[in-house]
Amino acid sequence: MSKLHWEDFQPGHVAVYGPRRVTREEIIAFAAEFDPQPMHMDEAAGGATLLGGLGASGWHTCSLLMRMVADGFLLDAASEGSPGIDDLRWLAPLRPNTEIRVRAIALERRVSKSKPERGFVKFRFDVIDQQDKVIASLTCSQMLKRRESGAPA
């Protein structure tokens, strides 16, 4: 099986991954482990905040996005990791029993200056619910091996 390489990600390409239903139990379990703020663990406490009810930790949303991107394509790609996230916005609460999908849009790409066998693809990833409402949106660069690794371009 040939892995996906940098050349396989054309700017403008859109794909949707998922769905995945997020349960109340996993929201509370993630919060208890990594983000134990009452608004992520208790309906009444969440109701007293701008979340307006129990809402997942934003970091949980990010972690779920990562898993859905991994299962969606990254585990089949010659991934070399990511240098970071340009921008992330938590736009709406992630509620229990929401069925989320990830919409991936390849924005642009370039070859690494320091490592010509590597390329960067800039993606926008949106976490969306059943009604296509955007719960979180981020832009990041993904590092991928080039197919012509080491060879002249």
């Binding site: 701008l50 930790s57 970091w59 990562m66 991994a70 990791g81 990511s82 992330l88």
Partner: protein, 160 residues
């Protein structure tokens, strides 16, 4: 916890450190980021990372955990003094998150956050917005993580 009015730009919060064991690196990665260089020592050795390293999301969520614990200590101290505790959160998001260097097995990362901006919320008069620059440094003094996040913080209630 201090109200929006009490927060000073330049204020630094030392959040403490965390040592990343192989077991927890793999446990987090198997749940959320199962790329082979985060889940398997042999595969990681063959990768450009050269050894098993933590998912960047893992090193980021540990910051959150330490920040929540830091705030909890401040809140408990304030309550013990009979002072009110300002509500904080939720956050709007973050920008310029950089995973500068890998976090390898048994690396100890020290985290801190510095207030870099504050402004009243235009849409919500009882709240302000506070931006902090957070960072993680390993035991060799190398920066491994940094980002700037913005969160709501309650303003001091006006005395009638």
């Amino acid at each position: 916890m201090n109200y929006f009015e009490d927060v000073a730009i330049g204020e630094v919060m030392a959040l403490g450190g965390h040592t990343f064991t192989a077991e927890e690196i793999k446990a987090f990665a198997l749940r959320f980021d199962p790329q082979p260089f985060h889940t398997d020592e042999a595969a990681a050795k063959e990768s450009h990372f050269g050894a098993l390293c933590a998912s960047g999301w893992h090193t980021s969520v540990v910051w959150m955990r330490l920040m929540v614990e830091y705030r909890r200590r401040l809140s408990e101290a304030a309550r013990a003094r009979g002072e009110p505790v300002a509500a904080i959160g939720p956050a709007l998001g973050f920008r310029d998150l950089k995973w500068h260097k890998p976090v390898y097995v048994n690396d100890t990362i020290s985290y801190q956050s510095e207030v870099v901006d504050k402004r009243p919320s235009r849409s919500r008069p009882r709240l302000g917005l506070v931006s902090i620059r957070s960072s993680g440094v390993n035991q060799h003094g190398e920066l491994v993580l940094s980002f700037v996040s913005t969160t709501f913080l309650e303003r001091r209630p006006e005395v009638p």
